[in-house]
Amino acid sequence: MADDIIRTEGLSKVFPGGRPVGGRPASPEVVAVDNLDLTVRRGEIYGLLGPNGAGKSTTIGMLTTRVTPTSGQAYIGGVDVVAKPAIAKQVIGVVPQTNTLDRALTVVENLELHGRYFGMRPAAARVAAFEMLERVRLADRAGAPVASLSGGMAQRLMVARAIMHRPQMLFLDEPTAGLDPQSRIALWEILQEFHADGQTILLTTHYMEEADQLCSRVAIMDHGRILALDTPAGLKRSVGADTIVRVSADGGNLDVLAAHLVDAVAEATSAKVIDGAVQLDTHKTAGLLPRIIDASEQVGYQVTDLSVTEPTLETVFINLTGKELRE
């Protein structure tokens, strides 16, 4: 489709196993990304949501020319990323996981030089650098050494740098990992502004709130595969319940309780044991909680705690994989 900006077909990365060293046995090969077909539409914020080790960073690595795929193809804006990485780099902007700002330069020089790497003339790069600093609220720091920036500021500067040359595609790898809540929200706002200007964005995250609030579409990823792909609302609807009740109880095997509750509570659609509690997917009705307690007590369980939430992307992830995002 003409409106697809990223297209991958059967994209895979297998890291070879390590040879035996000393007394240690050989480590097995790792399939980091497994036959990935991914399509990002122009103008959207596409999120890859998954736990650490799901293959998100390797996927970004392949799309940004830093990781050579074992097999498969990837195109960005029509450019074959695998065959022509140096050309593909012209049309992408990347915010990596670590701070890679140029310590020898000031804040504004970081942007200026980046613009020049991408073919801007020195004067134009300088003008654009100051404009960009305004947009990421760092204008008052223009002449400061980058070492003096806080984590949130450094991250905003990295976003500004990645976007200096107006890439067709902006990649962010775990953009808010390690940021305090305030800095995280500030960064979300900036990304939303750039998105409103038409910037297409692909980001990875293991924060479900981030995927939920920011992304037009979210792909849930685990073990190198995409398990589900939809809008955040669509994914949550797929749970088939509007209320999630977590039941902590003493008195025996929780799997037995889970099976009993699905039968005994009419509104419940499914139940499973997650992290030492029964998770009951259900629909909100009057008297739901007392009925859950009654049903538990009938079969000899003492309910010690009940919590009620709406389905989140975490719920979707749990339903797909049987485990929590943050493990």
Binding site: D102, A104, L113, G119
Partner: protein, 281 residues
């Protein structure tokens, strides 16, 4: 194309430009970045470039003759001052290779990860590595120009220079290439924790045995050492400078140029391959 009205016209979405044009402008901009950094840090550049040669020349060719402890006998003090000029030039360039290329790369790969951004510049990663060599050559040549007057003026005994410009203008850039390529190879091999090892295992033997303080031909009486030092690229650099600026005995020019081209090529191939291996998985 999507709405970009809120952004100024310079910010129209990037379309891929022809490769040669993009590579060239990125390469030049990366060089410009290094020039800006050297200009910002010119004081430390001068100090790191001049201190060692200054002390070397001062102690060996000023203090020693003055206190009657000339090297190679006081009678040969002139000769020693003269042959040391070449050694100091080679040494200055060799140290630029370490200081301008190897050490920053060790940092950028190890702690700062800055290299991650530069390899995303729109040119092949091999050219990012080559750019580091070119930058090192430029800094090496500047260092040589700065050091030359010291080697010629500080000695207490007269220095007899005889400059062959054709040789000098070819030997100097080649020597810069050898040193910078060595810097690239070392900078992509040693992790930050092993920098002290880099100095004791590589830099020290290279400089002490690199025909800085003696012409290579004088090693004839220690034949085994003379043969081993052929593995030291600094020998060819210094012998080349000796041929370029003095009339003291020197290696055959075939060996000088052949040795430098061989080592420069070897280090470039190894360095670029290491560089690529480190940034692409």
């Amino acid at each position: 194309m999507t709405a970009t009205a809120a952004l100024p016209p310079t910010h129209a979405l990037a379309e891929a430009r022809p490769a040669s044009q993009a590579y060239r402008s990125a390469f030049i901009a990366l060089l410009a970045r290094d020039v800006i950094v050297v200009r910002k840090q010119w004081k430390s550049f001068i100090v790191r470039t001049l201190m060692q040669p200054l002390l070397l020349v001062f102690v060996f060719t000023y203090v020693f003759p003055k206190i009657g402890q000339g090297i190679g006998g006081t009678a040969n003090a002139d000769q020693f001052s003269t042959l040391l000029v070449a050694g100091v030039l080679g040494l200055a360039i060799m140290f630029q290779g370490i200081q301008a290329v190897a050490l920053p790369l060790v940092q950028e790969f190890g702690y700062s990860k800055e290299i991650e951004d530069r390899v995303l510049a729109p040119l092949p990663v091999e050219m990012v590595a080559i750019q580091k060599i070119v930058s090192g050559v430029i800094q090496g040549l500047i260092a040589a120009v700065l050091v030359f007057p010291i080697a010629a003026i500080v000695p207490a005994t007269p220095v007899h220079l005889h400059i062959n410009w054709l040789l000098l203008l070819t030997v100097a850039p080649l020597a810069g290439w050898v040193a910078s390529a060595l810097g690239l190879a070392l900078g992509t091999t040693f992790p930050p924790t092993q920098v002290p090892l880099l100095f004791s295992v590589i830099v020290m033997p290279l400089t002490f045995l690199g025909a800085v303080y003696f012409p290579w031909s004088h090693l004839e009486s220690i034949r085994w050492l003379q043969i081993i030092t052929l593995l030291d690229p600094l020998v060819y650099m210094n012998e080349g400078f000796r041929a370029s600026v003095t009339t003291t005995p020197h290696m055959s020019l075939w060996a000088v140029y052949g040795g430098m081209i061989f080592f420069a090529t070897l280090f470039t191939v190894v360095g670029v391959r290491n560089f690529r291996g480190k940034v692409i998985s």
